[in-house]
C-alpha cells in the first residue's frame, strides 16, 4: 500500500516581500522592452552598470553566509529576485553565478569557500560547466580528470556553459576514474580560443562551448564533497530556472492581454472571443501553479543538503514552470495573428526563452521521470 505524506509548507517572510517589491521596480526600470531588444545582438547580453548596481545592492551575497561576506538570507531570498528578472527579461550573470556559488558552498572545504565565495559576493562571475552530452538528463560524463605531474589534467569539452565569455571561474564536472568530480578552473588558466560562443534560440541569453583539454589544476581546486553538491546544484539550477521562467510566463501573459484588449477584429475586441479568452485564462492558471511551486520550494530550501521533500518541490517547480512557459510563449505568438509571425512582436522573445529554459537543468519529462520513484514507490 502506498502511503505518501505530501509536504504543503508555503510561507513568505516580510523580507522576501520587500525583496519582491523592490526587485520588481528595479527590473522594470532597468529592463524595459526597448532595452531588452537593444541587448539582443550585444556581446555579453547585459548592461555592465546594471550588473554593478545589483552587486552594490548586495544581491550577489544574499544567499551566502555572513562569514563569506554575504547576508545569510539563504536561497529562498533570491527567488523573488529571479522571478522578477524573468518578468522583465533582465539578464545579467546573476542566476548563473548564484547557482555556481552554491556548488562551492555545498561542496567546498572551509578553505575553498573562503578562497572563492567572498570574490563572488563582490561580483566575480562563476558558472557551472556541466553539460558534455546530448542532454541535461544524460548520466554519462565525457570530460575526464587524471593525475599528472603531482597535479591533475582535464580532458574534454563542455557545452552550453552559461555566460562562459564573462566567467571568472568555471566549476567543471569531470569523471575521475569513473567518480563524478567538481573542479574549479579559473578563466585565466584557459588557453586562447578555448571558448566558442553558442548561437542560442533565446537571444537574451549567452553561453559557449568551453574546451578544457590540457588545463592543469592542483588538488586544492577539487571540491571536497562533489557528490552531494552536484545533486543539490542540479536541483537549485532547476529551481532558479523555474523561477525565472515563471516570471517570463507572466510577462508573456501581460503582453498577450495587452493585445487582446486593444486589437479589434470583425468589429470586436478579440479578447471577447472565448476561443482566445479561455486559453489565456489557462496560461494564468498554469503560471499560478508554477508560482505556487517556486515559493513552496523556496520555503523548504536551506543551506543543508536538500532532503526528499525539497527535491520533490524543485522538480515539480521545474516541470510545471517549463510547461507553463512553453504554453504561454506558443499561444502568445499564435494569438497575435500575423503580427505574431514577425520579429517585431515581443511574443518572439517569450517563445524563444521557453525553448531555451525548458532544457536548462532538465526538461519537464526528465523531472517527472525522477519524481516517479519519489512519489510512486
Amino acid at each position: 500500500m502506498i502511503t505518501r505524506t505530501a509536504n504543503l509548507d508555503i510561507s513568505f517572510s516580510d523580507e522576501q516581500a520587500m525583496i519582491l517589491d523592490s526587485a520588481k521596480v528595479f527590473c522594470r526600470d532597468k529592463s524595459d522592452i526597448t532595452t531588452v531588444r537593444s541587448l539582443l545582438k550585444s556581446e555579453t547580453g547585459y548592461q555592465n552598470d546594471v550588473w554593478a548596481e545589483m552587486i552594490a545592492l548586495g544581491w550577489t551575497g544574499l544567499a551566502l553566509p555572513e562569514q563569506y561576506g554575504g547576508s545569510g538570507m539563504g536561497l529562498g531570498a533570491t527567488i523573488p529576485l529571479v522571478e522578477s528578472m524573468g518578468r522583465y527579461l533582465l539578464c545579467t550573470p546573476f542566476i548563473t553565478s548564484t547557482i555556481a556559488a552554491q556548488a562551492i558552498l555545498r561542496g567546498g572545504t572551509n578553505q575553498q569557500k573562503s578562497r572563492w565565495l567572498p570574490s563572488m559576493v563582490e561580483g566575480a562571475v562563476a558558472t557551472m560547466a556541466l553539460l558534455d552530452n546530448e542532454d541535461w538528463g544524460a548520466t554519462q560524463i565525457r570530460c575526464t580528470l587524471t593525475p599528472k605531474d603531482g597535479g591533475f589534467v582535464l580532458e574534454g569539452k563542455k557545452l552550453q556553459v552559461n555566460d562562459a565569455a564573462v566567467a571568472d571561474i568555471f566549476l567543471v564536472l569531470a569523471s575521475s576514474n569513473g567518480v563524478p568530480t567538481l573542479v574549479v578552473v579559473e578563466a585565466k588558466a584557459l588557453p586562447e580560443g578555448a571558448i566558442s560562443n553558442n548561437t542560442l534560440v533565446d537571444e537574451t541569453k549567452r553561453a559557449g562551448n568551453v574546451n578544457f583539454s590540457g588545463v592543469t589544476i592542483k588538488a586544492d581546486a577539487i571540491l571536497a564533497n562533489a557528490a552531494e553538491a552536484l545533486q543539490d546544484v542540479r536541483l537549485i539550477g532547476a529551481l532558479l530556472t523555474a523561477s525565472e521562467a515563471t516570471g517570463t510566463s507572466a510577462a508573456a501573459l501581460d503582453t498577450l492581454v495587452d493585445y487582446l484588449t486593444t486589437r479589434k477584429q470583425f468589429g470586436r475586441l478579440i479578447g471577447s472571443y472565448q476561443a482566445l479568452k479561455h486559453p489565456t485564462v489557462d496560461i494564468l492558471l498554469q503560471m499560478d501553479s508554477a508560482r505556487t511551486f517556486i515559493y513552496h520550494a523556496a520555503t523548504l530550501i536551506s543551506d543543508a543538503h536538500l532532503n526528499k521533500d525539497t527535491e520533490i518541490a524543485c522538480r515539480m517547480a521545474k516541470a510545471q514552470a517549463t510547461d507553463a512557459l512553453l504554453f504561454a510563449g506558443d499561444r502568445a505568438v499564435q494569438f497575435h495573428g500575423g503580427m505574431g509571425f514577425t520579429y517585431d512582436c515581443n511574443a518572439m522573445l517569450y517563445i524563444r526563452r521557453a525553448q531555451w529554459a525548458q532544457h536548462q537543468y532538465g526538461d519537464a519529462q526528465h523531472h517527472r521521470k525522477l519524481l516517479a520513484p519519489l512519489l510512486l514507490d
Partner: protein, 411 residues
C-alpha cells in the same frame, strides 16, 4: 493525505482536552461505522437515488447526532452541542479520514440551519433545527430554474402576497433530494417591477407538503436518481415562511454560500463529500495488472500519474498560497476565483483516467460483478460533471476569471 499532514501539525499543539476528545471519536468511529451494506454508498448528497440508500443514510446521520458528533457548535436548547467549533472540526477530520458515510442532509446542515441560527427567530429555531440534525426533516434548495442555469438574476418563479399567504407559481430544477424533502429554501420573485433584477427576489423556508407543489424525478447520466424538477402551481405557503424582508432574497442567498466552508464557518459539520484523491488512484494502479505486472510499474502510466500528482499538489498548495497576501498581489483574486475550475476539472480528468487504467473491465458498470470496485470509478467520473456544470460551468468560470482577473472584454 493533505488532511493527514495538516493533522500531524495540529496534533502536536493540541491540548489534553482536545486530544482526549480526538481519541474518543476515533474510538467511536471504530465501533460504530456501519458494515458494508452491499450497495454502493453515495459520495455526495446528490446521489441519493433510492429509499434503501435514504434509510441507510438517515439512520447513520441520526447515529452521529445522537453520539454528539454533529451540530456540536450549535445551541444546546435546539438540539446542538453548545461546544466550541474546534471540536466539530476535529470530529469532521476524523470522520473524513476514516471515510465514514456522509451526513446527507446537506442543505439543512450547511445552508438553512446556520442561516436560521444566525438570523432566524426563536420560533424558527425551535421549529427547524432539531429536525435538520437528526435527519427527520430533509431539506432541499430551490434556486436554479430550467433554462437559466446558475444565473439567479433571471429567476422567474413568482411569489405573490395574498393576505397571510404567498402564492407561488413557477418551477425549479436540480432540486437535490426534492422528492424526500420536507422543506425547501426557496428563492422567488416578489417584485417583478424591481429596477435591478436581484432586488425583486425574496427568500423562503417553504414546506414541500403544501398543496400545489409537486416533484418529478430527473434521471442522471449515471442512470440513477437524486434530483427532481419541482413545480409550483398556485401553491400557498404561510407568509411567515419568508426569511428577512421582501426583496432581500438575493443577499440572503449569497450569505448562505459562506457556510459552505464547513463547521468553521457555522455549518453543523459531518462529512458531506467522500473525496477521492490521488492515493486512491495510485492504489488502483497498483492493484490492476497487465501481463502479471502492476500497472504502477508501466513507464507511461507512471508519467501520467506523476502529472496528476503535480496538479493535485499545486491545487493543495494553491489553497495555502491564497492566505499569503504578498504572493497574491499580482493578479488579484486569481487563485481564489480559479479554485472551483481547477479542482473540479482536475477531478474530472483524474477519474476518467481511472477508467482508462482499468483496461477491459473499465467498460463495465455498476451492477456487473466483474466491475473494478463495484463500478465506483465509473459512477464517480460521471457524477463529477455535477461539479464542472453546477454552480456555474467551467466555461462560465473561465469567463469570470478572464474578465475579472485579466480584464478581458465581455462577449
Amino acid at each position: 493525505m493533505t488532511e493527514n499532514s495538516q493533522l500531524a501539525g495540529q496534533q502536536s499543539m493540541e491540548s489534553t482536552e482536545l486530544s482526549d476528545f480526538r481519541k474518543g471519536i476515533i474510538d467511536w468511529i471504530k465501533h460504530n461505522t456501519p458494515a458494508d451494506p452491499g450497495f454502493l454508498l453515495p459520495q455526495t448528497f446528490m446521489e441519493v437515488g433510492s429509499e434503501q440508500v435514504l434509510d441507510f443514510l438517515r439512520e447513520w446521520q441520526y447515529k452521529v447526532w445522537s453520539a454528539g458528533y454533529l451540530g456540536m457548535a450549535w445551541p444546546k436548547q435546539y438540539g446542538g452541542g453548545g461546544m466550541p467549533r474546534l471540536f466539530q472540526q476535529i470530529a469532521d477530520e476524523e470522520m473524513r479520514r476514516a471515510r465514514v458515510p456522509i451526513c446527507f442532509n446537506v442543505i439543512g446542515l450547511g445552508w438553512a440551519g446556520p442561516l436560521i441560527i444566525d438570523t432566524g427567530t426563536d420560533v424558527e429555531k425551535e421549529t427547524y433545527i432539531k429536525g435538520i440534525l437528526n435527519a427527520e426533516d430533509i431539506w432541499c434548495q430551490g434556486f436554479s430554474e430550467p433554462n437559466h442555469g446558475s444565473d439567479l438574476g433571471s429567476i422567474q418563479t413568482r411569489a405573490e402576497r395574498d393576505g397571510d399567504e404567498y402564492v407561488i407559481n413557477g418551477s425549479k430544477i436540480w432540486t437535490t433530494l426534492g422528492n424526500y424533502a420536507k422543506y425547501m429554501i426557496l428563492l422567488a420573485r416578489t417584485d417583478a417591477q424591481a429596477e435591478r433584477r436581484y432586488n425583486g427576489l425574496s427568500f423562503f423556508l417553504a414546506p414541500m407538503g403544501a398543496n400545489g407543489i409537486s416533484t418529478s424525478p430527473i434521471q442522471k447520466l449515471t442512470g440513477e436518481y437524486g434530483f427532481t424538477e419541482t413545480f409550483f402551481t398556485d401553491a400557498r405557503i404561510p407568509a411567515s415562511c419568508i426569511m428577512g424582508e421582501e426583496g432581500h432574497g438575493w443577499r440572503i442567498a449569497m450569505h448562505t454560500l459562506q457556510y459552505e466552508r464547513g463547521a468553521e464557518a457555522g455549518a453543523a459539520g459531518g462529512v458531506s463529500i467522500l473525496s477521492i484523491v490521488m492515493d486512491d488512484l495510485l492504489k488502483m494502479a497498483q492493484d490492476v495488472e497487465r501481463d502479471g505486472q502492476p500497472l504502477l510499474q508501466d513507464p507511461i502510466t507512471r508519467d501520467n500519474l506523476v502529472k496528476f500528482l503535480i496538479e493535485e499538489q499545486a491545487l493543495y498548495l494553491g489553497e495555502r498560497r491564497v492566505g499569503i497576501p504578498a504572493l497574491c498581489r499580482d493578479y488579484p483574486n486569481s487563485l481564489a476565483l480559479s479554485g472551483k475550475l481547477r479542482g473540479t476539472e482536475f477531478f474530472r480528468r483524474m477519474r476518467q483516467y481511472a477508467l482508462t487504467l482499468q483496461g477491459a473491465p473499465g467498460a463495465l458498470y455498476v451492477g456487473d460483478d466483474q466491475a473494478v470496485d463495484g463500478g465506483f470509478w465509473q459512477r464517480a467520473y460521471l457524477n463529477n460533471f455535477s461539479t464542472t456544470i453546477g454552480g456555474g460551468t467551467s466555461q462560465v468560470q473561465a469567463n469570470i476569471i478572464g474578465e475579472h482577473v485579466l480584464g478581458l472584454p465581455k462577449d
